[in-house]
């Protein structure tokens, strides 16, 4: 079913809902979410823990099925798709970055990154080349043959980001990308996301870290499964840097 409203949204949802349990123990993790993401936009979704933002992200990535509502990816309704079709979608059009990195411990960095390409059926050589390219892009070309255990948290997450980019996806979904990182590693990942944003990659980031959210064009607050508020982050501020540092007065 094509998106009737036209427009070139990369990602769009209407009335998205996800419920667990039933009757007395019913939990509405996501309760009626309408979202539109334009191409090249970075959207940050912030909220207290348990507000359902991670659940929302997994729904957007086709890793879980909504109870109600529709999701359109590049104008195509993905809600009625079979598991197989969703898998193909994840392979070709969606990149996912997890809070826990989820790298395979027995594979080297480059083997981890090339995995989605191999799953998509690309030739081993092409997959390897693309993986090396991406590792270079995230600044880890010299660590290509390292196992994840030999990498720091920030480096692991960057490998995970490289993996998410292998298929040149329409949208990259990131779930608390700096959640498990110390501030120095987080800075590296921050820089990477900023670069991706500058390069025009569409990003949807779920986070409770304001610094990651600050790289976005738009910040949406979420609570109890619904969107509360939206803040545009483009445009100037009212204060100068010097004032923020306490130099004046």
């Amino acid at each position: 079913m094509k998106d009737i409203d036209g427009g070139s949204w990369v990602l769009r949802t209407r009335g998205l809902r996800k419920e667990y349990g039933r009757e007395a123990s019913l939990v509405r993790a996501v309760d009626g979410v309408d979202l539109e993401v334009a191409p090249g936009e970075t959207v940050a979704i912030m909220g207290p823990s348990g507000c359902g933002k991670s659940t929302l992200l997994y729904l957007l990535g086709g890793l879980d099925r909504p109870t109600a509502g529709e999701i359109w990816l590049d104008g195509q309704d993905i809600t009625p798709m079979s598991e197989r079709a969703l898998a193909r979608l994840r392979r070709d059009a969606i990149g996912f970055v997890f809070q826990a990195f989820h790298l395979m411990d027995e594979l080297t960095a480059v083997e981890n990154v090339e995995l989605p390409a191999l799953l998509a059926g690309r030739s081993p050589r092409a997959a390897r080349r693309r993986a090396e390219e991406l590792l270079e892009r995230v600044g880890l070309a010299d660590r290509a043959r390292f196992l994840p255990t030999a990498l720091s948290g920030g480096q692991r997450q960057r490998v995970a980001v490289a993996r998410a980019l292998v298929a040149d996806p329409l949208v990259v979904l990131a779930d608390e990308p700096t959640g498990n990182l110390d501030s120095a590693s987080a800075r590296d990942v921050l820089r990477l996301f900023d670069q991706l944003h500058q390069a025009g990659q569409t990003l949807v980031i779920v986070t409770h870290d304001a610094r990651i959210a600050a790289t976005a064009d738009r910040m949406i607050s979420m609570r109890d499964g619904t969107f509360i508020d939206q803040t545009m982050l483009q445009g100037g501020t009212s204060g100068r840097l010097g004032f923020l540092a306490g130099l004046e007065g």
Binding site: L190, D209, T215, T231, L241, G242, L244, G246, L247
Partner: protein, 175 residues
């Protein structure tokens, strides 16, 4: 604040006004860009009047401030030592915002949540700017460190705003 910093920069050796200016600029990076050039000379004059600093005219056209060489007096040196040993930390100024919210709610003039959201948007934009600047600096440079400090403060403030929002939302529900 600036007074102490300027005094301290003279502790090692006397210096010209423009040299002091350059040192400050380097230490502050982009944060110092908004600094008024003339500001430093005003500060130096005040210090001279307070007897903490002496100004010697270098040979050349008289009465041009940038030809003066500034040096610490012994009183100045004592003040530097005191300043370095001071433990006071810049005061967080949250009370005003806090009272703003309470006043708005009490008088029914505005919704506290709206105030919080507006402020939060502003802080986020500031955070964005500061972060951009921080990422542009080389790692571990003095400027980067300062910017990191600002970012972390902003982050802390944003967290407090979140707590405020939760508090005022539930307060609204109850009432």
């Amino acid at each position: 604040m600036q007074q102490g910093a300027v005094l301290a920069m003279l502790a090692k050796e006397p210096a010209h006004g423009y040299q002091l200016r350059a040192r400050l600029r380097q230490a502050l990076g982009p944060v110092g860009e908004g600094m008024n050039d003339g500001q430093i000379y005003v500060t130096l004059t005040r210090l001279e009047k307070a007897g903490l600093v002496t100004a010697e005219q270098e040979p050349g056209p008289p009465d041009r401030s940038d030809r003066k060489v500034y040096a610490l007096t012994s009183a100045g040196q004592r003040r530097v030592a005191d300043w370095l040993a001071e433990v006071s930390w810049p005061k967080p100024d949250l009370a005003e915002f806090h009272l703003k919210l309470i006043a708005a709610a009490a008088a029914g003039l505005a919704d506290p949540i709206t105030i919080i959201d507006t402020q939060r948007g502003d802080l986020l934009r500031r955070l964005r700017e500061t972060q951009r600047a921080a990422l542009a600096e080389p790692d571990r440079s003095p400027a980067a460190l300062l910017l990191e400090g600002i970012v972390l403060r902003l982050q802390a403030d944003l967290r407090w705003l979140e707590a405020c929002e939760q508090n005022w939302t539930s307060g609204k529900d109850e009432s």
